[in-house]
């Protein structure tokens, strides 16, 4: 009897922990994937249209860059702004008062290397999420790269702790596609729908929320094999804390420079997602730079 009681308490504690600590998004992401804000990563914008005749001589026009469509996609439909702003405040409070202190404590206790291993492990586990989206978008090259990376890391990388093929020197450019279902829907032409701030998960849209739900509960192996949900959820929460430890300061810097942080984050999220949807094909060959800066240059006297 007492035992059952303590299990309930444990479950309750774990649940509270999860509710308090769930930050942005449970989705497949490499270390470079943003936590709340799209600030760093990789990708290419659509080809620049170079036809001067097409555009009127409007000094405010940005149409000439061939990414107006991209901008339109990032244009926010925000009918629930009252709710969204309230939720943004809630998440902001959560971030500064709970998430950040916990993550800082975690970073103090756990050195960079084990945190990287943890990240690689989760990364490897979330392979089904990314693979599904690669296949659904017809990105077979990326799907192949993902698969070969998954096999190599699982076999030779101690079950995913290492990232044996992550380096640029590997024989084949094995990048992660960083695909998820929200992007897949976008590639299929499904529009974003209204902007929607999720509690704990941060900025999203209706389309991305649906994708995120499926990614999290259907495609994520932590929710398979009858694992009790509170273990799955705490694993997800732990992954988030670990991931956040690589991104502390990004949300702060976005907020620091903004006049209206809510709108700044909304634009950043939608623009970043629009870019992710549009980078249909990543060029596996790195472009050859025409010139580079000299990092050791000293000023001329």
């Amino acid at each position: 009897m007492t035992r059952n009681y303590s299990t309930t308490i444990l479950a309750f504690l774990v649940l509270t922990m999860i509710l308090l600590t769930f930050p942005s998004q449970v989705r497949s992401a490499d270390t470079q994937n943003p936590v709340m804000v799209a600030q760093v990563g990789s990708g290419v914008i659509g080809a620049v249209k170079n036809n001067p005749e097409e555009y009127p001589d409007d000094e405010f026009s940005e149409d000439m860059w061939g990414d107006s469509e991209h901008h339109e996609e990032a244009y926010a439909s925000d009918p629930w702004q009252g709710y969204n702003r309230a939720m943004f405040k809630f998440n902001d409070y959560l971030y500064f008062n709970i998430m950040k202190p916990i993550t800082k404590g975690y970073m103090w206790a756990v050195p960079l290397r084990p945190r990287t291993w943890t990240n690689n492990f989760f990364q490897n586990m979330l392979y089904p999420v990314r693979l599904t989206s690669c296949l659904l978008q017809g990105k077979f090259y990326t799907a192949g790269a993902e698969t070969s990376k998954f096999i190599a890391n699982s076999l030779f990388g101690m079950g995913g702790l290492g990232n044996v093929v992550g380096e640029a020197q590997s024989t084949m450019p094995l990048y992660l596609g960083d695909e998820d279902l929200g992007q897949t829907f976008g590639v299929w032409g499904i529009p974003n729908g209204p902007y929607f701030v999720l509690p704990f998960f941060g900025p999203s849209t209706i389309r991305d929320s649906v994708g995120l739900g499926i990614d999290t509960f259907v495609l994520n192996p932590f929710w398979w094999f009858g694992i009790p949900w509170y273990y799955s959820a705490s694993a997800g929460a732990y992954n988030q804390i670990n991931k956040l430890s690589f991104h502390i300061g990004e949300y702060e810097s976005l907020k620091e420079g903004s006049i209206d942080p809510y709108l700044a984050l909304r634009d950043a999220y939608l623009s970043y997602r629009a870019k992710q949807v549009r980078d249909a094909k990543i060029d596996p060959n790195k472009p050859k730079p025409q010139m580079t800066t000299n990092p050791d240059a000293a000023p001329q006297k």
């Binding site: 270390t31 914008i45 991209h70 990032a74 209206d260 623009s271 997602r273 010139m291």
Partner: protein, 221 residues
């Protein structure tokens, strides 16, 4: 005599062709590279290293260098968008100075995080002879961060007016925020909006100046 003359002609011709060659080098990419290189040179300058007293001078020098290849008027104008046409010259000037200040306070600290990364310049696209985009990548070793610079030819010089990282454009991000404040329904609402905008900009600049960290660490407002 004849020989001296012919040598002179050759020298003059050489100078001219060198000049022409130099003019062709007035490309957005070359200009951007020299601008960024200038900032890196200041960051590397041993004169400023490890001396807190020199930090202020270093920051000042970096600001000046950045101002040289950034066009903050154009950047401000595009960040405000069409309501800019209804700003008086004084308001424009005030806005440019406040906004420049805000950007400097926010991003100057980031510049200091530079630790020997290279910047690769991949491509330049010139449109209508007046606008250009230079595709660059910041090579951090672990991964490349693509950064696109958009530049405009003003008075024969290419100057940056927008920076786009990961699909997020600096100008557009601020335009979203300013549009939320500037209500252009009629002149009266616009005036009120402008007042609010200046109030917020001034408050932000004061906050950043007083304590660059506290402004963000204490949550909203």
């Amino acid at each position: 005599m004849k020989r001296t003359l012919s040598i002179l002609v050759i020298v003059v011709l050489l100078c001219l062709s060198a000049g022409a060659g130099f003019a062709a080098e007035n490309s957005p990419m070359v200009r951007l590279r020299s601008g960024i290189q200038g900032v890196i040179a200041i960051l590397n300058d041993p004169e400023y290293k490890g001396d807190p007293a020199m930090e202020a001078e270093k920051a000042h020098k970096i600001r000046e260098t950045i101002k040289d290849f950034f066009n903050f008027e154009e950047l401000s104008k595009r960040s405000v968008g069409r309501p800019w046409l209804k700003f008086t010259p004084e308001e424009k000037e005030r806005f440019v100075s406040l906004f420049t200040n805000l950007l400097e306070q926010t991003y100057l600290g980031r510049v200091g995080e530079y630790s020997g990364e290279k910047v690769a310049f991949d491509k330049e696209t010139i449109i209508k002879g007046k606008y250009a985009q230079v595709d660059t990548r910041l090579l951090t070793g672990k991964q490349d961060i693509p950064v696109f610079y958009r530049m405009k030819l003003t008075d024969g010089e290419w100057d940056v007016y927008d920076v786009k990282i990961e699909g997020v454009s600096l100008v557009k991000n601020y335009r979203t925020q300013f549009t939320g404040i500037l209500d252009t329904t009629n002149d009266k609402t616009l005036e009120a909006g402008k007042k609010e905008l200046f109030k917020r900009l001034e408050k932000k600049c004061a906050e950043l100046k007083a304590n660059p960290k506290a402004a963000t660490d204490n949550g909203i407002e």
